[in-house]
Amino acid sequence: MLSAEAKRKLAAVVGPQGYLDQPEDLLLYEYDGGVDKARPEMVVFPRSTEDVVAIVRISKEYGFPIVGRGAGTGLSGGAIPRMGGVIIGFSRMNRILEIDLANERAVVQPGVVNLDLTVAVQGDQYFFAPDPSSQKACTLGGNVAENAGGPHTLAYGVTTNHVLGLEFVTPDGEVFTTGGKEADLPGYDLTGLLTGSEGTMVLVTKVVVRLMRQPEMVKTLLAIYNSTDDCANTVAEITARAITPVAVEMLDGVMLRMVEEATHAGFPLDAAAVLLIELEGLSEAVLEQVEQIREVCLACQAREVRVAKNAEERDLLWKGRKNAFGAVGRVSPTYYVQDGVVPRTQIAPTLRFIGQTGAKYGLTISNIFHAGDGNMHPIILFDPRQPGDLEKAQRAGEEILDYCISVGGSITGEHGVGMEKTELMPHLFTEETLAMMRRFKELFDPEGRLNPGKMLPTGRGCLEIRQPALGPSSIVY
């Protein structure tokens, strides 16, 4: 429990308009985009690194957990206070501190919204490459914590490939900077270690990112299939023919219909699956690849291949893709999205397994995912008001992730382990490896105050206790 004294001290740091502590306000911070819930005792909104340091020092003095949070769009429970305590909301640290096009860099505070950075530089023909579907809302601090991806990671890599430096606050309240605008600095790559550490080791207060030059030409294609297998096999065939799209997204029939009803993007309602393929680069390369892609899709039994004629058509197709999760809300009260990864050649059998798993549990599972890099997003539809439905959805999700592991894949490609998949980590990593990750966590956070109960097994199952046992403040509905 957070003492009244600690609360007073926190309030003094951020001022009367800088915190929330009423139950009706705290409710909004008990969840993210995933299915888990845990309510904070207080939410504070620092305006500066100094504020963050002061908050962290109070946490140290009184021994309560702290959890960093950007926009709360995460899908693995990364930004909810599993063991109670205080949420540090970064929404007021939302300034782009510097845009340095001559050096292809920007320096930002963690609360800057992902898309706002691209908007700030697109007039000069630059962009920030990581583009999670939530990019209109999600923050760069959250992107760094989760090492976020997006459709275009196929060509440009995930967040870690675009982060060159960090300023961060340790759980002891020390401030460090690591990396910088310069590439390939000597010494251990702390930036690389901390990016994707899911807010369990430090709180990031400044980020140096890479900006990229916009391509000359972009072409977006929609390939329509009567068979999911044919659609999936096209992905492997594109790779085999050495064609290099910047994004290859797949939507199955269930998803198509939900998306089409919500966005009217022009997706065919009767298809079994479609591929949304984007090509970027010099016009000479893109125009040739459009024809190569058309040829591959038709060779793999696509019934039709459409090329977006202009920017509006292209934006409409992407709107359908990026707003897909919202579209699900029209059909199902809620859903549970998974994030397993498989080698690209295993997409077709993995989709078959997902279909069988849905049938086994009597659940509808739709698929919309980054096919180009094998990053599956099965969306399991369920009704939390039906007793047992959430548990069934979670079991189905776990079986799908175990299948991904069995074909050489991983349990998360971009959403993070969060609190959702902690107990699956031992399926993927050995005891020794998990122990080593824990030692790194403890090196930075020996008292376990920073985002406890995330990323590493908690020992709730049959495993040995790995983190302090869950406290009473954790609520899982």
Binding site: R105, E182, D184, P186, G192, K421, T433
Partner: protein, 377 residues
Amino acid sequence: MLPPQTVSPDSPEEFAAALRAASDQRRTIALFGRGTKHRMAGAVPAAEVNLSTARLTRVLQYEPRDLTLSVEAGIRFAEVDQLLGEHRQMLPLDPPFAGEATVGGVLASNTCGPRRRLYGTARDLTIGMKFATLEGKLIQSGGMVVKNVAGLDMAKLLIGSFGTLGAIVVANFKVLPRPQVERHFLLSFDLAADARAARDRVLRSVLQPQSLDLLNPAAAARMGKSGFLLSIQAGGNRAVVDRYQRELAALGPLSEVDPNWTARLREFTPAFLEEHPEGAVVRLCSTLETAPALLESPAPAVIRAGSGVAYLYFAEASAAAAVLSQPKAILEFSPTSRSFTAELWPSPGADFEIMQRVKRMLDPHHLLNRGRLFGRT
């Protein structure tokens, strides 16, 4: 080149056991692959145990249709290059010493070359790793899929750690299809400012060359050329590469060079070191904006002008002092003689304190590759 009584275990498990045995007896350990970079990042003084990955040479998995590769750390980079080439694929790191260097050594030193502009470094292309610790444990980071955020990305720490934290024993990569056509162009200028301006125009254009290097006249002379050079490698289909030729020709006097040019540029450092046993190489991490100023250096300068990393070559190591005093400079390759005592990494940042904590956690008795990491560990 290799120290006497070098032990080369046959498997990652045996490698981990050998590390543990040495550590249990508190014996100092020199860790290396084939020893190509013994002058790099500070020499390791004679150690009590010499451990090499040279016999960890298996290809564990290569699935061209998945564009992924898993190899043991002691395999030669050249062998990997050849294997991938048979499938028209590539791991475009361009490390120096490419003929003999091992994959593990390339990662531990985070060496790369001209194509760094387009494809990044080992940091960007490594998707998984197994490393052995002094406790004899094999630790896994990442896996065999191209996108994976499960757990801490510990591989990032090992890349560029020069064997001071543990031993990389297995590395997994994402590989890329090789472009249909690759061509190599040179723009040569009388003035550094003109070379820089041409580089700026390429950076601001829609062109995405694989490499973009600036050489000053002293470096150009070593390559048998004259003037300030902007060296560009371009890949793609024929029409794309023809366009590079057209657009680059508009920037200045353009010539085309044979593919061997880039290989020689990649091996610029090894060739210099061989000629100059008492010479030294300074690496300066600078920005795109500030790097071209180094073209004025009287010493040969090769600048990765698309990333801002510059290499300066000194026949006499003592002449390196001035440039080494700049922030973010390191003496990357030292003279052979042990009498050389300059600071190799004069100005590490405040975060070095955290690096030391990491080092102490993994090597509390300071046994691994003493003196490496530029004399700082």
